[in-house]
């Protein structure tokens, strides 16, 4: 009885609640707004309020893998007023079939009043495939069904199985499908079973097409060890190529990398040529490309080094720097400033610093613009917004920060761009006054520099020559003194007149180069001048004395005379 009563009561309450309801809403949501093609994700429809029926959305670009529903209702009495709420949830498991940005919805509910309430529309970005990574082998006939070598230690492909003991492997990053303009990194590794390869010879680098390339060849072959399907391999990186596909290209291709290796020991070596297959990496167009013709792959931010600039008398020219930071196709990212009749903007200086990182090809690109005022007043520098697509964020609009410009003064040359152009491109008869001319030739090749360097050189050489001359003279003088002393001793120790005479003859010859023996008097006079007369007189005296057999006292006199002659001659010399 009690249960019957309670059922009736509940029915009454339900009926009352139903009457109390007056409207309803329907909402669509998803747990992920970006998914990969082939991936299953949850999609939820929530209808609340009082409604008769729900019109579910159409999933034309997705496959419905599963659908479940849940319902709940609640009644609440607030301030004496009863409110009833019904909630219906439909949970779908959807699989994305192809890459792109797809819209789901709207769904709708038919209200009891007869009206229809529509839901929101949900946008889902579907990126590259999970199941079809790019083939790293152009030779499909050879190796079309093997797992690709997008992983360093992936199982051997059919190509690699031809020489399972040693092979070259190209590893492509990212591993999924690649978008047009998406930076790629291709690394070439040499794999060999331990102890097989004894030497590596030169190799032929692959040549890439339809892309910009940055090549980094390893200077040292650094060996690491790893296992592939249980087999141990030593492997090392040979070269890394960072590639950025050209706009509009549908694939990036690379020719084979070829490497000569030597196997075996010292007496039994063999040379083998290894190669990778040619690569063909297909490129997918960016989703909704037709709506975003300037769209690029990547995720970046744009910053400016200042918020405002002032152009005045002291500062007629200013430089502003915009920096694009992030990952992706930085090479094609450009900052374009909108034309402004009040400003003259010079072509920017561009500085790109980017490289392969864990997050891909990342870095920053700086645009330095020089700005000149053409018309006084206030204006602003506006840059064209950039459009970037990434797997994680889908399409993003990247705004270029606005910079306020206050032009207080304009330069005399820049009052009007039309006027400037009119004055330009006229021949000049002579250089404007006060302009310096610099030399094309390097400083070290100029005459003044050569003279400036020549002067100290000449002074040094001259001083050195004088020093050498002095040294030689000193040496020669020293040598004469030694000889003189020697002959003085010889003469002093002469025992007879004949010996004295011979010693005197020899001393004259060695010390002064005077050869008296066997020469006629007239010839000697002609040769050595009248001053030889006294020497000849002295010799005659000695000769007479030797015939006369003079005593020792005479000999001593003659010795003293001879020494006096030598001394006198020495002074003259």
């Amino acid at each position: 009885m009690t249960s019957k009563l309670s059922k009736i009561l509940m029915l009454l309450v339900f009926l009352l609640a139903s009457f109390a309801l007056y409207g309803g809403t329907v909402t669509l949501s998803t747990d992920r707004s970006t998914v990969m093609a082939g991936e299953v994700f949850r999609f939820i429809l929530t209808a609340e309020g009082s409604f008769d029926s729900i019109n579910e959305p159409v999933f034309k670009d997705f496959t419905v893998e599963n659908r479940s529903e849940s319902q709940s209702s609640s009644i609440s009495i607030i301030n004496g007023r009863m409110e009833s709420k019904k909630t219906v949830n439909y949970i779908y498991h959807l699989r994305a079939e192809k890459a792109g940005v797809f819209k789901i919805g709207p769904a709708s509910v038919k209200l009891q009043s007869g009206k229809t309430a529509d839901s929101n529309i949900v946008s889902v970005t579907v990126t590259g495939s999970l199941t079809s990574p790019p083939s790293s082998h152009g030779d499909d006939s050879v190796d079309s069904s093997v797992p690709t070598t997008n992983s360093l230690l992936a199982p051997l492909t059919n190509w690699e199985k031809k020489t399972p003991d040693y092979f070259l492997r190209a590893v492509v990053k990212p591993s999924g499908e690649v978008y047009e303009g998406e930076p790629l990194v291709v690394k070439y590794y040499l794999f060999a079973k331990p102890g097989i390869i004894s030497d590596i010879s030169s190799y032929k680098s692959p040549s890439f097409e339809n892309c910009w390339k940055d090549e980094k060849v390893e200077s040292r072959f650094k060996v690491e060890r790893g296992a592939i399907e249980g087999a141990v391999y030593d492997y090392g990186l040979l070269a890394t190529y960072t590639l950025i596909p050209q706009k509009g290209a549908d694939s990036v291709t690379a020719t084979q990398m070829i490497l000569d290796v030597t196997t075996g020991s010292f007496f039994n070596t063999r040379r083998h040529t290894l190669s990778t297959p040619a690569l063909r990496i297909p490129l997918n167009p960016l989703p909704e490309k037709e709506n975003r013709p300037d769209g690029l792959f990547g995720s970046v931010t744009v910053s400016a080094d200042r918020q405002s600039i002032k152009l005045d008398r002291d500062n007629l020219l200013e430089t502003v720097t915009y920096t694009i930071s992030g990952c992706g196709n930085l090479n094609s990212a450009e900052i374009t400033l909108e034309e402004d009749p009040a400003l003259l903007m010079f072509s920017p200086e561009i500085d790109l610093t980017a490289g392969d990182t864990q997050n891909g090809y990342c870095g920053h690109k700086k645009y330095k613009f020089m700005i000149k005022g053409l018309r006084k007043g206030k204006t602003a520098l506006n840059g064209r917004a950039l459009s970037f697509f990434s797997r994680e964020k889908g399409w993003e609009k990247v705004e270029v920060p606005q910079i306020q410009v206050d032009i207080k003064e304009v330069s005399a040359l820049a009052d009007s761009s039309t006027e400037r152009n009119a004055r330009s491109f006229e021949l000049l008869k002579e250089l404007p006054a006060g302009i310096k001319k610099y030399e094309i030739s390097p400083l070290v090749e100029r005459t003044w520099f050569k003279i400036a360097m020549g002067i100290p050189f000449l002074v040094t050489v001259l001083s050195f020559m004088i020093w050498i001359l002095k040294s030689v003279m000193k040496k020669r003088a020293g040598s004469y003194q030694t000889k003189l002393t020697k002959w003085k001793t010889e003469i002093s120790s002469s025992a007879t007149m004949n010996e004295l005479l011979n010693n005197f003859y020899d001393a004259l010859k060695e010390l002064f180069g005077i050869e008296l023996r066997g020469e006629r008097k007239q010839n000697l006079k002609r040769k050595y001048g009248e001053s030889i007369e006294d020497v000849l007189g002295f010799i005659k005296e000695i000769e007479h004395s030797s015939y006369g057999a003079k005593d020792d006292a005479d000999l001593s006199d003659f010795k003293l005379k001879a020494l006096a002659f030598l001394n006198f001659r020495g002074h003259k010399k």
Partner: protein
């Protein structure tokens, strides 16, 4: 016979008048090719005078050779960085061609610096000390020689290294738009395009090909010699 003589004199005088017609009058007659040849001759004779370089730029521009005009304006600014007419025309052209002119290329190399002054001064001191030592050998002079020599040697090496570094950056201007090849051969694949008037770094050369690096977008590749003109750097 007299008539023949007169005829010869007349022809010679005519040829002489024609030969002395300068670039300015030819330019006014819109004979740009003739004006270009005339200015080129004067440019060579004057060993790269900035005035003729500038006039060659104006004439090249009139001929529609905007890349060549960029080259001559850059060349004029290498020798006279304050040459505002050349700077102005280069700015207009670079905007028109949408190319970037690096600031370093509109200025000459600053070769006179402290290192060079130190080198010159130390060389003179060394030379004077050496000369004095020849006549008055003294231990104090001998002691002073070594540090002076060291300063001289170090500054010479430093200057040489700096000079080498500056000379290594070789700039060029693309005078005609050209495909950038992956190697020094016509049959090789294109890896990019060089714009007319674009500034490039010349990395190396092989036969009639230059290996260049584009200043604008950092792309490296090969281009035919005739499409690029190397900039002669000015030195202060």
């Amino acid at each position: 016979m007299k008539k023949l003589m007169f005829l010869i004199i007349f022809i010679a005088a005519f040829l002489n008048i024609y030969a002395t017609e300068d670039g300015f009058s030819l330019y006014l007659k819109k004979d740009y090719k003739g004006a270009y040849s005339s200015f080129k001759k004067e440019f060579v004779e004057s060993k790269g005078d900035p005035l003729y370089s500038y006039n060659l730029g104006v004439t090249s521009n009139a001929m529609g050779k905007k890349g060549t005009a960029v080259y001559f304006y850059v060349q004029a600014l290498q020798r006279s960085p304050e040459f505002s007419e050349a700077k102005n025309n280069l700015e207009i052209l670079s905007k028109e061609l949408n190319v970037t002119i690096p600031k370093a290329l509109t200025e000459p190399i600053h070769a006179v610096d402290y290192i060079l002054i130190i080198f010159l001064v130390s060389t003179y001191i060394f030379s004077i000390l050496l000369s004095v030592l020849c006549f008055y050998p003294d231990w104090r002079i001998k002691t002073a020689l070594l540090p002076v020599f060291l300063i001289m040697a170090v500054s010479a090496v430093m200057y040489f290294m700096k000079y080498e570094e500056e000379s290594r950056v070789s700039w060029g201007v693309v005078v005609t738009a050209e495909q950038l090849k992956s190697g020094p051969d016509e049959s090789l694949s294109d890896i990019g395009k060089l714009k007319e008037g674009e500034i490039i770094n010349i990395v190396s050369s092989s036969g009639s090909w230059y290996k260049v690096k584009s200043f604008q977008d950092n792309v490296e590749g090969w281009v035919k010699l005739g499409s690029v003109r190397a900039v002669m750097r000015g030195h202060i």
